[in-house]
């Protein structure tokens, strides 16, 4: 950023000084980005991929997306324990479009009993948008019991609304 007008030795020393300063800041930012990415990267998997990997990914921070099966939603307000099942939906946007859009994909996923499914347990307040054929994006770990322990639950209901609606629930931990 510091351009020199004249090229006296003093101004060159200055230039080097500022260059070094800038590089140090650049290095700090890059280091912050790399280390933070490593510390908090979450693998985004579909239910199918998760079932295929199984214990291989147990204990790792994961993000899984699936279609909520309404009949399986159970909530115990005493312990604030929420359990439900999600059915596999494709992770790729193009694939979803090809199959007729998200609403259609979610609907088929729930109706089709042959789809791979995943049991989810979450501890906290029951989200307002949790219902049949909603898309759930869950962050958490796969337990040894094959149940997904979600720390964070994100829900979308594309059938109903086009506009921007955030609905997020922070983990209770």
């Amino acid at each position: 950023m510091a351009q020199s007008v004249t090229n006296t030795p003093a101004s060159q020393v200055n230039r080097v000084k500022f260059l070094v300063g800038g590089l140090i800041i650049l290095a700090v930012v890059i280091w912050l980005i790399i280390s933070s990415t490593q510390a908090s990267a979450q693998y985004f998997l579909t239910v199918e991929e998760l079932n295929a990997k199984g214990s291989e990914v147990a204990g790792r921070s994961l993000r899984v997306s699936g279609a909520v099966i309404g009949d399986t939603i159970q909530y115990d307000p005493q312990t604030l324990t929420l359990t439900f099942q999600v059915a596999h939906v494709p992770g790729d946007n193009k694939e979803i479009e090809a199959q007729g859009g998200l609403a259609e994909v979610l609907h088929t996923a729930v109706v089709d009993s042959n789809r791979p499914r995943l049991n989810v347990v979450y501890n906290g307040v029951k989200p307002d948008l949790l219902r049949n054929e909603a898309q759930a994006i869950m962050t958490g770990q796969l337990g040894e019991d094959g149940v997904f322990h979600a720390d964070e639950l994100l829900l979308k209901c594309p059938t109903k609304y086009e506009e921007a609606v955030p609905e997020q629930v922070e983990g209770s931990s």
Binding site: V28, R63, Q168
Partner: protein
């Protein structure tokens, strides 16, 4: 009829925008002023046309013309009038119309100013504004038409089209699907238009920057002309972000205000470059440095604004905000790419003319510290950008989609924000040109004494979290330095002119609005930092199911469950409302009414917290579940958010400071002084 009228106005506005671009370019190249005047008239004509179009859409929304698909998708009979009107920006197509309307309003306002001294900028400002306008109008016309109606074909299928397919009849729906209940909140009603106001007004400084590059008049005239615009744009953007946070806090029911969601980040990124820009233009004005850098910043801000508009309205990233899936993605990326490349090419073309006039000599000079501030803002921008695109990159590289969540952003940006907080304290003390550790130390030692006192006091009071001690230490340092600046300035006036201290303080601030407005903004940021540290470090929560008469305890607070009522409202809600008594240290302090509204129409419940708000903390109670008949009781989730109100109070101070800085003052005097110092003569056309 009205739909045709609105659509027709859009078509004409689009054609006029295209004509205006051609007329302005021809006028400049052939040197025919009449053509430029014609382009200017075209610009002015777009505003009434788009006003007509927007009013038509509002009419359709208010009157419930559900044969128009957009109207059916965002309104319903049971919605109150103000929500029907604001449904204009409730969906993608409508918000694009709203965007173009604002754009034409701002561009017209700029066109109407006196151009005597800056005649050569006019055609290019018109070109940039019209190209942007034409792009959005094209999107509205060809991809996202809000006036498209639903027609029933003879075979019975319903199709969406603007004009009647042969043999079809209008498909009338009895009622619309209604605006999402989550959006029916005053914060949500005004938060999107404020963001859009911010977005759109940032187009103007960019237009002037491009005009300056094209015409080769690359002195800092464009910066002076747009300084107030930029501040106002920045104010709207800041307000939009703040209100978005407030809305999340009130409505989303998890006691938070910012979730590092891609859409929040999309609105935050132009704010970051805009803030950096506001700081670094001062260096160009005072020292004639960083000219290339300011151009880069304004170009980046413009393209981030377009990117932000796109992200908030498409489904490109897995965001909780972005519900809309539509075909506008490639068009947006094409436009962003094109404008970015053309702008950079222009900048390179003028590169040598933008050489710095003086040279940065000292690492501790004010300009060097401002540069550092810019680098930190850019660092935060890079972190944000990386976080947003990382899933796409990882998928391209490894085929595996990997995302990063809030912990990534918090971890990576916290040191950068801390650095900014520290700089906010140091930079105002540093001198322009040359500054050394000694001169800086002499200026800083007195106010800096407050820092060890504050940190020591907190430590003795039992605060042990390092993040809180560092954070509050920085806050104390910057706050005392900033207040000391006010005190020093007022005291000097008091001694010199014999003014009373309050009067001296008032005159000091009103005579140097930009400087002291800036300091007031800094004080606002400091207060906000107090709130953020409070809720991030000290938030506690608990939950429990209790019968009537029983209690839940959290820290010094206790709530008792008194009663619960379930009833229907006229606007189609079923409300479950609990009454809880709140005790602090065993003393009764009032009651709260957390509730759950169930919207029959959209079958969606909405949890509304009961909040007891004080200077010291917020006590936030959510009704999670209940047993209406038996005496089993109800489940509550309870949050204690210390200091969080300072976030909102700081926001108000921040806005006040921006208003002070943007308030008109004797700008002409400034310009005259400047002309004498630099010795350039303005070019008259």
């Amino acid at each position: 009829m009205v739909a045709n009228l609105g659509f027709g106005a859009l078509v004409i506005a689009f054609l006029i925008a295209l004509y205006g671009i051609v007329a302005a370019v021809v006028g400049v190249l052939r040197k025919i002023p009449a053509w430029v005047d014609s382009a200017r008239n075209a610009m002015l004509l777009t505003f009434p046309l788009l006003t007509l179009s927007a009013l038509s859409l509002i009419y359709l929304l208010v009157e419930g013309h559900y044969e128009v698909e957009y109207v059916a998708s965002v309104t319903s009979n049971s919605m109150p009038l103000y929500l029907k009107i604001t449904a204009l920006w409730g969906g993608q197509a409508g918000s694009l119309v709203f965007w173009t309307w604002l754009m034409s309003a701002f561009a017209s306002a700029v066109t109407l100013r006196r151009w005597d001294r800056d005649r050569e900028f006019l055609p290019w400002v018109i070109v940039v504004a019209m190209v942007t306008l034409a792009f959005f109008l094209g999107l509205v016309l060809f991809v996202e038409n809000p006036f498209a109606r639903i027609w029933q074909l003879p075979q019975g299928q319903a199709v969406q089209a603007m004009f009647q397919p042969s043999g079809s009849v209008l498909f009338m729906q009895p009622d619309g699907r209604g605006l999402n209940p989550l959006l029916r909140h005053p914060g949500m009603v005004i938060h999107p238009p404020l963001l859009y106001l911010g977005f759109v007004s940032f187009v103007m400084p960019y237009a002037f920057a491009i005009a300056s590059l094209v015409t080769g008049r690359v002195d800092d005239r464009w910066i002076r002309l747009t300084r107030r615009w930029t501040l106002v744009a920045w104010l709207f953007l800041s307000l939009g972000l703040l209100l978005g946070g407030r809305w999340a806090y009130d409505v989303l029911g998890w006691g938070g205000y910012w979730g590092w969601d891609p859409v929040e980040i999309a609105a935050f990124m132009p704010w970051l470059t805009g803030t950096a820009f506001l700081h670094s233009v001062m260096i160009q004005e005072k020292q004639g440095m960083l000219k290339h850098w300011n151009m880069v910043l304004v170009i980046l801000t413009y393209d981030l604004v377009i990117f932000g508009t796109f992200l908030t309205r498409s489904g490109v990233l897995s965001s909780v905000h972005a519900f809309a899936q539509s075909a506008i993605g490639p068009l947006f990326f094409g436009f962003i790419g094109l404008t970015f490349v053309i702008s950079l090419a222009l900048l390179l073309h003028r590169w040598n003319e933008l050489k710095a006039e003086t040279q940065m000599s000292s690492m501790l000079s004010r300009e060097a510290l401002f540069l550092l501030n810019n680098l930190l803002f850019m660092g935060i921008l890079v972190v944000c950008f990386w976080g947003v695109i990382f899933p796409l990159i990882s998928e391209l590289v490894s085929g595996q989609k990997v995302t990063v969540g809030p912990p990534f952003y918090e971890r990576a940006t916290a040191p950068l924000f801390a650095g900014l907080l520290l700089l906010m304290g140091i930079a105002p003390l540093a001198a322009w040109g040359r500054s050394s550790i000694q001169t800086l130390g002499r200026a800083a030692w007195k106010p800096a004494l407050g820092t060890p006192l504050a940190v020591g006091g907190l430590f003795l009071a039992g605060v042990r979290q390092p993040a809180a001690l560092i954070g509050f230490g920085l806050v104390a340092f910057t706050a005392t330095v900033t207040l000391y600046e006010f005190w020093r300035g007022a005291l000097a006036r008091h001694r010199r002119a014999g003014e009373g201290l309050p009067l001296a303080l008032w005159r000091l601030a009103s005579r140097n609005r930009r400087r002291y407005g800036g300091y007031i903004i800094h004080l606002g940021v400091i207060l906000m930092a107090i709130g953020i540290i409070g809720i991030e470090v000290f938030q506690t929560e608990t939950q429990g199911t209790i019968a009537q008469g029983e209690q839940i305890k959290l820290g010094s607070y206790t709530i008792g469950y008194d009663s619960l009522a379930v009833f229907d409202t006229k606007d189609g809600r079923n409300v479950a409302r609990a009454v809880v008594s709140v005790y602090k240290n065993g003393r009764y302090v009032g009651e709260l009414h957390p509730r759950r509204d169930y919207y029959y129409e959209s079958q969606q419940p909405m949890t509304i917290p009961g909040v007891r708000s004080t200077w010291e903390d917020d006590f936030y109670v959510l009704l999670v579940d209940w047993q209406p008949v038996s005496t089993e009781g109800a489940t509550f989730k309870v949050y204690h958010n210390p200091l969080v109100n300072w976030l909102w109070i700081g926001g108000l101070v921040f806005i006040l400071g921006t208003l002070v800085a943007a308030w008109p003052e004797g700008e002409h005097d400034l310009a005259v002084v400047h002309v004498r110092r630099r010795g350039y003569s303005t070019v008259e056309a």
